[in-house]
Symmetry: C2
Subunit: 209 residues, 2 copies
DNA sequence: ATCTTTCCCACCTAGGTGTGAACC
DNA sequence: ATGGTTCACACCTAGGTGGGAAAG
């Protein structure tokens, strides 16, 4: 038996149990990552994302353009943040080093795009933004990650017209190499800090310094 | 044939054609208006709501607490703003007077609550806020009203687990006398202006004046 | 003239940044 | 001592108010 539980009003769900094999959608769906140049600037530096108690947004923002959906079939979009490898790390001598086995990834949470169930036509019309997703090390309200562990964003496109059948529906999964990042509670690499300040409008205050 | 068209990413839909009779939900659903004291303060003064080209929020905000839904059945919530009576008005000598027949209410638009389809249990858990709804006299992006015409908020609770079947699903409708208001492009009654400034946090700047 | 509509504005609310000191 | 975590803070972005002048 499988169960999907809603965790906040902004799209966070948790799946019990977490690992289920479902059937693929038989269709040529393509997903293009938006702002790929910006993602690559951070990838070169080895991206870090801050996690806080109260939840922190991702920057760069995860956004995609989708093609190849059936215009008149209903879909949902689920954002997923999955562990990369089996190790945790430390930052020493300006480099990331393995520091032993990873802590268990306890929570299998999905962020369901707030548009809910929509027809393919609607999803393909504009780029799909996941700008309100937040990551945390504690809060029940957001996606929970372990600090000093690497992760990667993946996207599930689920063919369903009923949110209740999400656990039995067909789906395709797309992962993005550019979105690999280290979860941290404070930035370790000063070059990452500088790039965040340089490109994130909310850090504008610190640009002159 | 009936058709539901999505108009923006924040829950606005338009129904073609607009008048359909559907079956009622056979259940003792009760809906309580939140902030009823605040609504009544404005009701005494004869509530005015500003409409602008770019869309203006409602104040007081429309929010409800719902009881009596089936916990494990899926529902959607649709906000509706319906004309009251058949006349348009003018404000003269500190009073509203009939100024002829109403203009036609051309657009039958619904604001679908952004939580989309949820089970009764979820809808009843917390009070349901419609704080992002906007009204306008022109914009395709929001609920279109005629200035100097009276309206009333109503709520449709639709029993459906599929947004696509919204036009054929069972539903119950709830109206709220406290929410009757006059759509205006600028406030006519100075007492209404004062009450808006007094109670709306976004008008805080004008409280000292 | 009179009344309604439009638009720019100052001034708020609301909330997203990294900082740097303190804590663990 | 070392290095990760937390928190109040100043400083932004983003956007919701009615005012008041101008336009219709």
């Amino acid at each position: 038996v499988q169960r999907l539980e809603k965790f906040n009003s902004d799209g966070l769900f948790q799946l019990f149990p977490s690992n289920i094999k479902r059937q693929e959608i038989n269709s040529k769906i393509e997903v293009r990552l938006e702002e790929i140049d910006l993602w690559n600037i951070f990838k070169v530096l080895e991206t870090e994302m801050i996690i806080t108690r109260t939840g922190r947004r991702l920057f760069p923002t995860f956004a995609v353009t989708i093609t190849g959906l059936e215009p008149n079939i209903n879909y949902m979009l689920l954002l997923d943040i999955v562990p990369v490898g089996d190790n945790q790390y430390i930052y020493e001598d300006s480099k990331w080093h393995i520091a032993g086995k990873a802590m268990p990834h306890s929570f299998k949470r999905y962020y369901v795009h707030s548009n809910g169930v929509q027809m393919g036509l609607q999803w393909m019309k504009d780029c799909v933004q996941f700008n309100k997703v937040k990551i945390t090390n504690h809060s029940r309200e957001h996606i929970i990650l372990n600090s000093m562990h690497p992760y990667q964003i993946s996207l599930h496109i689920v063919e369903t017209s009923d949110i209740g059948s999400i656990t039995s529906a067909k789906y395709n999964t797309f992962t993005f190499d550019e979105t690999v990042f280290m979860a941290v509670t404070s930035y370790k690499n000063p070059d990452v800090t500088h790039a965040k300040i340089c490109y994130n409008p909310f850090a504008m205050a610190l640009r002159g310094i």
